[in-house]
């Protein structure tokens, strides 16, 4: 096999992996703080994508400009979900927690189908489009944009978590809720902020994705699934792990597509997950 094909696959894999990474980071953050998996994460990505689409089709706003608006909007949505649903099931059984967000996911995707029809939408000719090539390697500008934005967003998050008081408080809550409360941290506020940031990140991912991907009610499912795998791979609760996990999965998916067969792309990804999780049950960078 031609090495340029492998290189191409690796590059495009890493590019889409950055988007996976951004989606996964929010999931990991919330888990770390609250020990709750948001099974509606993928559906929220879908909501953000529709938001981006409607801003473009009804108000003529390009995704590039809509980015901060949608990010903020989704952050608010995150807070609402926390207050309306998550707060009520915090402390409930694992079953209740799983099904609460699962129910939300079903509700969101079927509502989207009822409201927006199952038709596929695409945003045409956004400001960022086209591709560039270096030799025989081609990469879409939208994808580079997505990767750059993801990396940037993650860097900001990392700085926030490690160098600001609120961020450090979040980390403390994540490590040990009881100790954090004893230290005077308002854990309730941390939860709210955590959800806001988590879904805000999903909002950013949804905008960069909507720039080149098609939008339909079920679009969130695959991305959500990959996010869970990425988070588990990197170690639940570890934000850096989730980011790396996402990129690894993007690369694995792409490479197995060319090396093995495109139909088995996800089979390989899932098998990798199973292997890693068995060999290192807490994930690559998980807290042990």
């Amino acid at each position: 096999m031609d090495s340029s094909i492998l290189l191409q696959a690796l590059l495009t894999g890493v590019a889409v992996g950055c988007v996976y990474a951004l989606v996964s980071v929010g999931l990991s953050l919330v888990y770390g703080i609250m020990d709750i998996i948001n099974f509606a994460h993928g559906e929220l990505l879908m909501v953000g994508m529709y938001g981006t689409f409607f801003m473009w089709v009804m108000l003529g706003i390009d995704p590039l400009i809509a980015l901060p608006i949608i990010a903020l909007f989704m952050a608010v949505v995150g807070v609402f979900i926390y207050k309306g649903i998550i707060k009520q099931i915090y402390g409930s059984s694992a079953l209740a927690q799983i099904f609460a967000t699962f129910g939300l996911a079903t509700f969101l995707s079927s509502s989207a189908q009822a409201l927006f029809t199952p038709n596929f939408r695409t945003i045409e000719n956004p400001i960022i489009h086209g591709s560039i090539n270096i030799g025989s390697i081609y990469i879409g500008k939208s994808e580079i944009f997505a990767a750059v934005v993801s990396a940037l967003a993650f860097t900001l998050l990392y700085l926030f978590l490690n160098y600001t008081n609120t961020g450090r408080a979040l980390q403390a809550t994540s490590e040990n809720k009881d100790a954090a409360t004893l230290m005077g941290i308002n854990t309730e506020k941390m939860f709210m902020i955590g959800w806001g940031i988590s879904i805000g990140l999903v909002g950013i991912a949804s905008v960069v994705l909507a720039n080149y991907f098609y939008i339909f009610p079920g679009v969130g499912t695959t991305f959500g699934l990959i996010a869970y795998v990425a988070v588990a791979l990197g170690g639940f609760g570890n934000v850096m792990g989730a980011f790396i996990g996402g990129i690894i999965i993007g690369a694995v998916e792409s490479l197995s597509g060319v090396l093995i067969s495109p139909v088995y792309k996800y089979t390989v990804v899932f098998s990798v997950y199973l292997i890693v999780v068995l060999v290192r049950p807490k994930g690559i960078l998980g807290r042990s």
Partner: protein
């Protein structure tokens, strides 16, 4: 907390009771009395009204409603059977009523919906259903109940190969379609002096793509071509990069594709991104002939071909088609009439014709009449149908000659057969930097 949970409990009990009661009552709606107290003949139809292809199902529903309207009312300027009369003449002007059920693409739901239509709504003929798996179980239910089932849009060859006596199909099956595609590819390439030696397939991984890929390989073998790459991909995947890379590496003379609308759109975008334009591409309908495909990537999909049974631009060569397209657009607020919808439309006329000739609503008489069907091309609006005549054993309509369409200037033009062609085919597809 107790008050909330008690109210909740009461609410749930009420919901359950209401569901049961309403279910018993709800089944009895739609007793079917048309205005004027005329006799009404019920025809059942199952379509995918929810799920991923709900838009297609909605179009089919609109087409069925339009067709039954034309049959039931007087449309003096339409050159179709039953248009100029009201209702079915041999049954005293009795009107037909199409009762539509949703099968959701699930064979279990298709079976139970068909059963409900037959046993509760008392339809005398069934039609449907787009998804071949849904048609699979539905036709068996019809067989058990001795009710004719006329397939209007499922293309799996298996459906007419099971020896069912009550199943008929107006629509061509994939065996015919894929053979027609390959024959045309062969013809076009030879005409331009560059005969095909290698072919690549690009099919999605559910029933439809799987069948298409299999048929493609058989046809390639028949024509002595080498399969340079067989790329199967997961429907609704997040990225087609690796798949397109494989195609690019194979660089086959002809690429055959089968996929749904989302993959088709992503495919074209990925082709552009990775700078690969196949010399010839023909798709097996579905995604590649979807009006949304042209709308989204029509400019970039220059030269993409697909097989079809109808095309909007044939309004001139077949005036009645043009008129029906217009009526359909009026009814649906501007939507173009897709292949599938046109198939449902035509099938209803075939059914009406059979019932009329039978002169009764007795299913056995209708079955006999269907077997004797011999309609000319003018009776059906689909240009790919040269008429309707069912093979006596398989009950498959034999008078088929599929069309080949090509995207030029952001819309579909007909390039084959020659007597219906509205444009010359573009071959080979120009490379991206030469457009």
């Amino acid at each position: 907390m107790v008050k909330i949970t008690r109210n909740f409990a009461i609410g749930l009990v009420l919901l359950f009771t209401a569901t049961l009661l309403a279910g018993c009552g709800g089944g009895a709606k739609d007793e079917g009395k048309a205005q004027g107290g005329d006799k009404v003949i019920k025809i059942g139809a199952i379509q995918p009204l929810s799920g991923a292809v709900a838009a297609m199902g909605a179009d089919s529903k609109a087409a069925l409603e339009l067709a039954s309207d034309i049959i039931n009312k007087k449309y003096d300027d339409l050159d179709l059977p039953f248009a100029k009369t009201e209702g079915l003449p041999n049954l005293g002007g009795a009107k037909i009523q199409v009762v539509i059920g949703d099968h959701q693409g699930d064979p279990n739901v298709a079976a139970s919906t068909t059963e409900r239509l037959i046993t509760q709504e008392k339809v005398v003929v069934m039609t449907g259903s787009y998804h071949s798996a849904a048609s699979g179980t539905a036709t068996e239910v019809a067989e058990r109940n001795s009710i004719p089932f006329v397939i209007d849009s499922s293309s799996s060859p298996t459906l007419t190969n099971r020896g069912l006596k009550w199943t008929f199909r107006v629509w061509p099956h994939d065996g015919m379609f894929v053979a027609a595609i390959f024959d045309y590819a062969d013809k076009l390439a030879k005409e331009k002096g560059t005969p095909i030696k290698t072919v690549a397939t690009f099919c999605e991984d559910t029933l439809f793509g799987h069948d298409s890929a299999k048929l493609a390989k058989e046809n390639a073998q028949r024509l002595g071509w080498q399969v340079a790459a067989e790329v199967n991909y997961k429907a609704n995947t997040t990225s087609l990069d690796s798949e397109v890379q494989k195609l690019k590496a194979a660089n086959a003379d002809f690429v055959f594709g089968a996929g749904y609308i989302s993959d088709a759109i992503l495919f074209v975008k990925t082709l552009k991104k990775l700078n690969y334009a196949p010399k010839m591409f023909i798709g097996n309908n579905t995604g590649y002939s979807d009006p949304n495909f042209v709308k989204s990537v029509g400019g970039d999909a220059l030269g993409f071909m697909t097989r079809a049974v109808s095309n909007a631009d044939l309004g001139e060569k077949k005036p009645v088609l043009g008129k029906i397209n217009k009526l359909f657009a009026e009814k649906t607020g501007g939507r173009p009439m897709s292949d599938t919808a046109a198939g449902c439309f035509s099938t209803l006329f075939v059914v009406a014709d059979a019932i009329n000739r039978a002169g009764s609503t007795n299913p056995e008489s209708i079955q006999k009449a269907l077997l004797e069907t011999d309609l000319p091309a003018s009776a059906v609006i689909l240009p790919a149908l040269q008429g309707v005549k069912f093979d006596q054993k398989t009950h498959q309509n034999e008078k088929i000659s599929p069309l080949i369409l090509q995207i030029q200037d952001g819309k579909f033009v007909t390039v084959y057969p020659d007597n219906l062609a509205t444009a010359k085919p573009l071959y080979p597809i120009p490379a991206w930097d030469k457009r």
